[in-house]
């Protein structure tokens, strides 16, 4: 144990800790702490019990899932940690209008955004509630940095128009489109379930019955698109959604779709599809 010296002033330490004026400095005390181990121990033990110090160390250490891409769930993160969200996500969220519902992240158009269900190259897909109709929707929001790019905007609005034209049980319905504001977005039905991709990752191979069921419905969705002279061009497991508890398969993401007569869209040599 370190002995107390003549110039130790414990009352001064107590006052320093209790002071509510965070700006209050005590240069003399600080100078004393430069050399007095006994007072260093004292100020530490008066600040909090050993247990609290240990808890602070354990609990405040960044834990593995503090910033694992969660948004709704990482409302509370310390300082710099929150900057690790993907840029597109942060940009889109920053552009949301405030909401007075503490359960929501913000407002986009008339929609109350509650979370993010997908992040892609084009932007992010928040999940939201349409208060007017009391239904859940998924909103595909174009990343702000792409919204400034004319070609990207054109592609985005093309997808919106193309997909909105297809009305079929096997194609995700588009409820509305907003392509002239700062942040273009399209509102579609929220399909509760997961993609075929996820299902494959989780369960491995599917039964023959499943394969033919899914295949038939994807074909039906594509046929409906073809009737609108629309080619999807990016059919892959990630874009095939399997609804929970319902044997329904829906096709989504017409981001690369091309109207058959729209020659301007893909010049020769332009690579389509998702690598």
């Amino acid at each position: 144990m370190n002995a107390q010296r003549n110039d130790c002033d414990r009352r001064r330490i107590d006052a320093f800790l209790e002071s509510n004026h965070v700006a209050l400095e005590d240069p003399q005390l600080i100078e004393h702490l430069d050399s007095c181990q006994s007072c260093r121990d004292y100020i530490g033990s008066q600040a909090a019990e050993a247990r609290s110090w240990a808890q602070a160390t354990d609990l405040l250490k960044p834990s593995e899932f503090d910033n694992a891409g969660s948004l709704a769930c990482s409302a509370v993160t310390i300082g710099h940690q929150s900057s690790e969200q993907p840029l597109a996500v942060r940009n889109v969220l920053a552009s949301l209008a405030p909401t007075d519902d503490p359960n929501r992240l913000g407002r986009l158009g008339g929609y109350e955004v509650s979370g993010v269900v997908g992040v892609g190259g084009m932007g992010i897909v928040p999940k939201a509630v349409d208060p007017a109709l009391d239904r859940v929707v998924a909103i595909k929001v174009m990343a702000p940095h792409l919204a400034n790019n004319a070609a990207s905007r054109a592609r985005f609005s093309r997808e919106a128009k193309a997909a909105a034209a297809v009305l079929d049980p096997n194609v995700v319905p588009i409820h509305s489109v907003s392509s002239d504001g700062d942040t273009p977005y399209l509102v579609m039905a929220y399909i509760r379930g997961g993609s075929l991709q996820k299902r494959l990752q989780r369960e491995g191979t599917l039964t023959t019955v499943e394969i033919s069921r899914i295949g038939a419905q994807v074909a039906a969705g594509l046929a409906a698109a073809h009737e609108q002279v629309l080619v999807h061009r990016d059919v892959k497991p990630e874009n095939i959604l399997l609804e929970d508890n319902v044997e329904r398969v829906t096709l989504t993401d017409f981001g690369l779709a091309r109207a058959v007569d729209d020659a301007s869209v893909t010049r020769e040599g332009t690579i389509a599809g998702t690598p």
Binding site: R40, A47, S52, L59, G69, A75, T77, V246
Partner: protein, 198 residues
């Protein structure tokens, strides 16, 4: 179209008085990340974990109307008990059976799955972590940046006071003073946040 549980869009519709509303808001703030971390630790993807968070909160919100039938119980306490049971039951099931909907309040109160103790411990720890994190955010915004850094470097990042002093170009005494002051405030805040507990 499928009926989504979220169709009951306003979770707060049942919470009327300002006191209850505040308790509910605080509850959501604390439990969202807690449930999320527990879900991720069990291998759930981000979106699945978020869905589970929504499902559990939805289930608790759905039970709120039966609170009035429990006279003499403080809303805050009641909320934590229901939440605890909903969380324990969510995480004590098989990973592929996140079935949570539809059960009545009685079931929610009675459920005590076999492996509850371990999950209970984890829940307690995660709730405590959330309190510390929330307290830390508040304290950090109260003190100046260097004071906070002195605490962060020495208590969270494991630097010695001497090396923190070098990094911050401050005296060692100043580091001791700053970290202790932050620690005191943090402890007080945590206690304050924990007041609604137990």
């Amino acid at each position: 179209m499928t009926e989504f549980p979220e169709t009951r869009s306003n979770l707060l519709a049942q919470v009327r008085s300002p006191d209850e509303r505040e308790a509910w808001e605080e509850f959501v703030l604390t439990y969202q990340p807690v449930i999320y971390r527990m879900a991720r630790r069990r291998g759930m993807q981000d979106s699945d974990a978020q869905d589970l968070v929504q499902t559990v909160l939805m289930r608790v919100a759905g039970a709120i109307e039966s609170w009035e039938k429990a006279p003499g119980v403080r809303f805050r306490h009641w909320l934590r008990r229901v939440a605890k049971n909903a969380i324990l039951s969510a995480f004590s099931r098989k990973p592929n059976d996140p079935a949570l909907g539809g059960s009545g309040i009685q079931q929610l109160m009675d459920e005590q799955p076999a492996e509850a103790t371990e999950v209970e411990h984890e829940l307690a720890l995660e709730s405590q972590r959330e309190q510390f994190l929330r307290a830390a955010v508040m304290v950090q915004s109260d003190v100046n940046a260097e004071t906070w850094r002195a605490f962060e470097l020495t208590v969270i990042d494991g630097e010695s006071c001497e090396s923190a002093a070098k990094i911050l170009e401050k005296s060692v005494g100043a580091v001791y003073a700053a970290r202790s002051r932050v620690m005191r405030r943090l402890r007080n805040k945590v206690q304050e946040l924990g007041q609604g507990e137990s």
